[in-house]
């Protein structure tokens, strides 16, 4: 099995505060990895470093062999990111937003249109296709923001709280799309919905205060923590329990 993401002692400090603390782990190609942790644990910061938005204070990571510190432009060819915040071009229509992202990722005109059609259908965006995105409701803007990351068929996909603010239909659509993508995409997703992580993810990493506290499948984590449910296991790790 090939390793898609290899994180080596990755650290991020803001002034004296260590926000991501010496994190080391790896993710296999085609794996769906869930990144969990309470608010402020450092999940978004870790994703930002892996997507070359911010520079690590220490350590490094390789995405399909490309170093994030040395070759950010090569890393950007491999990835797509759905940020925690909704990020759309307000005066463009839904379709224009999607086709713009597809084009920026290098798709030609025909493929842009085809991919946009596909994703519009999958996310039930058809009725809003030609509406300016700033006039969509919050949840629909969120879907669009998500769809913009999914349109480009990246090799590695980062989804930072993808289901935040989505209704149940939106979540189901996303789940089915994630399951389909999983065949050829390595996915890292963060979420605060534990049942979502348990149901979707191959493996889960739990962060606390910038440190990776535990990594494993949901069952493994339950077992290690001697908990009854995954939620109990999560609480165990984020309240001080440790594997060592």
């Amino acid at each position: 099995m090939t390793i898609a993401i290899e994180v080596q002692s990755l650290t991020k400090k803001y002034d004296k505060k260590t926000v991501v603390d010496n994190v080391t782990f790896s993710i296999n190609a085609g794996e769906l990895f869930g990144l969990l942790g309470v608010n402020g644990a450092g999940k978004t910061t870790l994703i930002k470093m892996l997507s070359c938005l911010i520079k690590p204070s220490n350590g490094d990571a390789k995405l399909l062999g490309k170093n994030i510190t040395q070759h950010p432009e090569q890393v950007h060819q491999l990835i797509a990111v759905s940020p925690q915040e909704t990020a759309i071009a307000p005066n463009l229509t839904v379709r224009e937003n999607l086709e713009l992202m597809a084009g920026i990722q290098g798709l030609n005109k025909v493929n842009r249109k085809r991919k946009a059609d596909e994703i519009i259908m999958r996310f039930s965006l058809k009725p809003y296709e030609n509406q300016r995105s700033k006039t969509l409701s919050g949840g629909w803007q969120r879907r669009l923001s998500l769809a913009m990351a999914l349109i480009s068929e990246p090799q590695i996909l980062f989804l930072d709280e993808p289901t935040l603010g989505l209704d149940i239909l939106g979540r189901r659509e996303l789940w089915s799309l994630i399951k389909k993508l999983k065949e050829k995409t390595t996915i890292i997703l963060t979420t605060h919905y534990l049942e979502e992580a348990e149901a979707l993810c191959d493996r889960i990493g739990i962060m606390k205060d910038g440190k990776m506290k535990a990594i494993g499948t949901a069952e493994e984590l339950i077992k290690i923590s001697k908990a009854a449910t995954f939620e109990d296991a999560f609480v165990y790790f984020v309240t001080g329990g440790d594997i060592q």
Partner: protein, 243 residues
């Protein structure tokens, strides 16, 4: 390819805002009509159509700075730019994609301004074309200032600075509405250290066919254009690789 797509997006983002169309195109034209109407009842040389047109053409460009600042600061504020920073877009794609549409709009605005001036009495000359083409330099100045403000400031501050301050600076310190010699003193000295009055003087000289009179103004404008463009590129690139 990416540049084209992104430039197209910048254009849409701006022209779909009715307020920008009003300020960018409507406002300068209203001023032009107003001043030439005033001039017809109380003739003042400064407000002759061949004096006022190059001035208003430059003043109109200040809105391009505002648009640049607005688009960029908005993109930063709603995380759209952050998202784009995770794509293969390069700083060149961004800078050209943001600024070229505005430079094109500047020329378009200049052309419309001159067409309106012709309709109300400006005589058609070949030098008109040069005067319009030379607008590209002050346009670079304004767009670069917009890029810098948009990259560094919040939307509110960027729009405040470029919308209120820049347009006013370019109005008051450019010698469009009143002769700076009449004010003189420090005011005049400051005005002549800034590029606006030079851009207007250069435009007037060229429009009236007095090509040698465009110096040294051209050097001032060119200097500011080069320095600000470089500064904008440096600042944007710096912002791109934050932390």
């Amino acid at each position: 390819m990416r540049i084209f797509l992104f430039a197209g997006r910048t254009t849409k983002e701006i022209v779909r805002d009715p307020l920008s169309i009003f300020f960018g195109l409507g406002f300068p034209i209203v001023l032009l009509l107003l001043l030439s109407a005033i001039n017809r009842s109380i003739p003042v040389t400064l407000f002759d159509i061949n004096e006022i047109t190059p001035g208003i053409a430059v003043f109109g460009l200040s809105f391009m700075g505002l648009f640049a600042a607005q688009v960029i600061s908005k993109d930063r504020e709603n995380s759209f730019l952050t998202r784009l920073f995770t794509t293969p877009m390069t700083s060149k794609d961004f800078i050209i994609g943001y600024s070229v549409p505005l430079l094109v709009m500047s020329i378009a605005q200049g052309i419309i301004c001159y067409i309106v001036a012709i309709l109300i009495g400006l005589s058609i000359t070949a030098s008109m074309i040069f005067s319009i083409l030379l607008l590209i330099l002050p346009s670079l100045i304004f767009v670069s200032i917009g890029l810098i403000c948009g990259s560094l400031l919040s939307e509110k501050a960027a729009v405040g600075i470029c919308g209120a301050l820049l347009t006013n600076l370019s109005a008051w310190l450019s010698g469009i509405w009143f002769d700076l010699d009449l004010v003189g003193g420090l005011f005049k000295d400051i005005a002549y250290l800034l590029p606006f009055v030079h851009a207007v003087a250069m435009g007037k000289a060229v429009l009236n066919g007095q090509y040698s009179a465009m110096f040294p103004h051209l050097w001032w404008v060119l200097g500011y254009a080069i320095i600000l463009t470089i500064l904008a590129i440096v600042i944007f690139r710096k912002k791109m690789q934050a932390d």
